[in-house]
């Protein structure tokens, strides 16, 4: 933890490096912590890492009042959101944590130290529950794998992997058609891990989605974030899969945990808060498609193509998802 105890009076905008929280109480490299968490545990998803980083921030910063603590958390989550190029699922985690803390700040303001300590361990509890969510998603998803289906998978999603591996463990028979998902080759990773578990996988070219969809029983993808209108953000090409599935009436399922629900309302794929240069006319010195190094492009899937969400609180239709997110907003 690269925490520095020397107080830095400068406010965060005058700070030189991105991803570092500067405040009167000290400074904290939240981005560093966040990336380290993700590196250490590849199965950790971004919202969880964000929550844990914010926990660490609460720990690292010497706040003396609740107000200070809250503003630190706010600054921390803003810093993190700015520093990470694709901050959608991270936003979900930050918002949940902020909401959680804000609500608790009214509970027990007398003994601030105890409050802070409890807050911290609750943050861990929070993360622990979020991890548990995935295994529940896997169990709920089991009912989807009925009658020897052929499942169409795109990209690499921990939730989808959990569902498929769990189904395999439970003795279900199924096959998987998986796209390569170039250029990130996430699909190859999926295929590799599924094959290692003894599931038969056909890897297809990204262009063969519509060609192969006829042989699939349903499509199953994960989501980086689920937005207020129940649209999802996922790796580029997901919309293709959704359209191909809709075209021949195959169910399109999304496996995701509810902590990836984000209260955000883009109306189309160009309004999502990720800066990506997908369409660039006559770029200098680039012949092919724009490079995706450093940032894998994401795609937006309209809710009308989604059959259902498989979450840890059951199977939800897009309407129910939207309803859930709005209810959460009103509660918070």
């Amino acid at each position: 933890m690269s925490r520095q105890t020397i107080p830095n009076p400068s406010d965060k905008h005058s700070g030189s490096k991105p991803g570092i929280v500067y405040s009167e109480m000290g400074e904290f490299d939240i981005l560093g912590h966040y990336s380290r968490l993700l590196e250490e545990d590849p199965s950790k998803s971004m919202p969880i890492a964000a929550i844990e980083s914010l926990c660490a921030l609460c720990d690292g910063i010497e706040a003396n009042t609740i107000h200070e603590l809250l503003s630190t958390i706010q600054i921390g989550s803003d810093t993190l959101k700015e520093a990470v190029p694709n901050a959608i699922s991270l936003t979900a985690g930050c918002d949940l944590f902020t909401k959680f803390i804000t609500r608790h700040s009214h509970d027990d303001p007398r003994d601030f130290d105890t409050f802070k300590r409890k807050l911290q361990s609750n943050g861990h509890l929070f993360a622990q529950r979020a991890r548990k969510a995935r295994s529940i998603v896997a169990e709920n998803g089991l009912k989807m794998v009925m009658n020897n289906p052929v499942i169409f998978v795109h990209g690499y999603s921990r939730c989808v992997m959990a569902v498929l591996l769990n189904a395999r463990e439970e003795g279900r028979q199924f096959k998987v058609i998986c796209t390569e998902t170039r250029p990130s080759c996430q699909g190859l990773r999926t295929a590799k891990e599924l094959r290692a578990a003894g599931i038969s996988v056909a890897v297809i070219d990204d262009n063969a989605v519509t060609y192969a969809m006829n042989k699939a029983t349903f499509a199953l993808v994960g989501a980086e974030g689920t937005l207020t209108d129940a649209s999802i953000i996922n790796v580029m090409g997901t919309q293709n899969v959704a359209l191909a599935a809709r075209n021949i009436d195959r169910p399109f399922y999304v496996a995701t945990e509810t902590h990836k629900f984000v209260d955000m309302f883009p109306v189309d794929q160009y309004m999502i808060p990720v800066k990506q240069n997908v369409i660039v006319f006559d770029p200098e010195g680039v012949e092919g498609a724009m490079s995706q190094e450093g940032l894998a492009f994401v795609d937006y899937v309209d809710p009308k193509y989604i059959t259902s969400f498989v979450t840890e609180i059951g199977l939800m239709s897009p309407t129910m998802v939207g309803d859930k997110i709005i209810t959460t907003r009103l509660e918070g």
């Binding site: 027990d108 105890t114 529950r129 009912k143 439970e170 003795g171 059951g314 199977l315």
Partner: protein
């Protein structure tokens, strides 16, 4: 009529209600209802709902109240065994969920929401949700109420399950603003352990003391619960009447209405509309015995075979649709495509409606709805509030009911037994509006309605 005779009698709903009035005994009655449900002599959402709710009313009355946790455990274990009897008769489950919802509401009204929550979280409640379906026998199904429904709600009761509490003992006071929670948990466990010996409201001797909620634990919420269940029964009773009150909102003058068969709920709606408006009615019938019988009984204004005595008199007294000036046409299923373009509205009846607005209905409904969709016709579905299930499903697995092979078809049963499926699953998206006893509900609002009706936060996965 036959109900007065002391001859052999199918244990139908009337028989069951008589039994409850005369010979109710908690354990025996539960087993009897399981038997009755299993042999399908009480079937259909209406009858099953009334039968179950009546049973719960008496069970709660007879239950020696010691704590909310105890009550919830009692009700949910009985609910589980009842709904296991015929898993696809979802009304049984729904009623158990409604009763538990009522207990939750009353507990919250009396400031004992945390106690109820605790009762849920200790895992007592989980068995109730256990499905179902011989079809899914191989699957290990487990439900996870113990897990948080939603993160922001962590704050309201973050200490959900007993094991998390054990792991993190220091958090309980943080978790919930009232510092007496730990005490209350102890009280709760003490209360349930001393249940066997202590009578109705004997306070458990341990753990009372300073906490103000300690007295609350002892507060018997049963009178309020019983009153609410009685309201629920009234609601069930007046369900069809309340639905028919919406007739004028649904049916306008000179419209052409198409229905599939004429189930009693739709029939009553149409009769009511006929008092005010003139319209044309097209009744689609099919080879399916139920639909045929229903439709002919309704069109000829004759009572249906299985209806109770009171219903018969009412039926005999009322004027038929034709007498009220309605032009009625009965057509066969294969004429559907010919007549659909001339129709203004399609009204069908649902058997069960799910939280995602998918539904189970009598076989053949999906075909009618598909034709209606093809011609962009408005589709209304009649469903009582007891048919709304707090659950969603991946598909029809385990929900469909098979009947005996159709006797009218000249098949040799030794060579070929044509399967008859009596109900079918219809995906969401084909209905424009639900006509319920609580008013008209848009398909998008079904989820919200269900969540409010059952006082729950999430729907199960069937």
């Amino acid at each position: 009529m036959t109900s007065q005779m002391v001859t052999l009698r199918t244990p139908d709903l009337q028989w069951w209600l008589d039994h409850l009035d005369t010979a109710f005994a908690p354990d025996v009655s539960v087993d009897l209802l399981i038997g009755v449900l299993k042999r399908r002599s009480v079937k259909g959402p209406d009858a099953a709902a009334v039968a179950t709710a009546q049973l719960f009313l008496r069970l709660i009355y007879a239950h020696p109240f010691s704590s909310i946790g105890d009550l919830v455990e009692h009700i949910s274990s009985i609910g589980t065994s009842l709904s296991k009897a015929v898993p696809r008769e979802l009304a049984v489950r729904n009623m158990a969920r409604r009763v538990i919802g009522i207990i939750r509401e009353e507990a919250e009204n009396n400031g004992m929401g945390d106690l109820f929550q605790a009762a849920l979280e200790t895992g007592i409640f989980i068995p109730l949700l256990l499905p179902i379906a011989q079809y899914l026998d191989s699957i290990v199904i487990s439900f996870h109420l113990s897990f948080l429904e939603e993160f922001p709600q962590v704050s309201r009761a973050p200490m959900k399950s007993a094991d998390t509490r054990a792991q993190l003992p220091g958090h309980s006071s943080f978790a919930s603003p009232s510092s007496s929670v730990t005490g209350v948990f102890e009280i709760l466990s003490a209360a349930s352990s001393s249940r066997g010996s202590s009578a109705a409201s004997t306070p458990p001797s341990t753990g009372i003391g300073k906490a103000s909620q300690a007295q609350a634990v002892q507060y018997d919420i049963r009178p309020a619960v019983i009153q609410d269940i009685q309201e629920l029964l009234e609601e069930l009773d007046s369900c069809e009447h309340n639905i028919s009150e919406l007739a004028t909102q649904v049916i306008y003058k000179n419209e052409v209405i198409l229905t599939y068969g004429l189930p009693p709920s739709v029939h009553k709606l149409l009769l009511r509309a006929a008092q005010k408006r003139e319209f044309t009615l097209i009744v689609v019938v099919d080879e399916i015995a139920d639909i045929n019988k229903q439709a002919s009984a309704a069109v000829m204004n004759r009572p249906m075979g299985g209806e109770e005595v009171g219903g018969d008199q009412e039926t005999a007294a009322r004027k038929s649709l034709q007498d009220r000036g309605i032009h009625v046409m009965v057509i066969m299923y294969h004429d559907l495509e010919n007549l659909m373009p001339r129709v203004n509205k399609v009204i069908v009846a649902a058997r069960y409606v799910f939280a995602d607005a998918g539904m189970v209905a009598v076989t053949g409904t999906a075909g009618v709805l598909m034709a209606a969709k093809e011609y962009r016709k408005l589709v209304y579905t009649v469903a009582g509030s007891h048919m709304f299930c707090p659950m969603t499903t991946f598909g029809p697995y385990g929900l469909l009911e098979r009947g005996p092979p159709d006797t009218t078809l000249p098949y040799n049963p030794e060579r070929c037994r044509p399967a008859t499926i009596l109900s079918e699953y219809i995906k969401n998206g084909s209905v424009d509006c639900f006509i319920t006893n609580n008013g008209l509900i848009a398909p998008n609002c079904v989820n919200r309605t269900i969540i409010e009706m059952y006082h729950t936060t999430q729907c199960d996965l069937f």
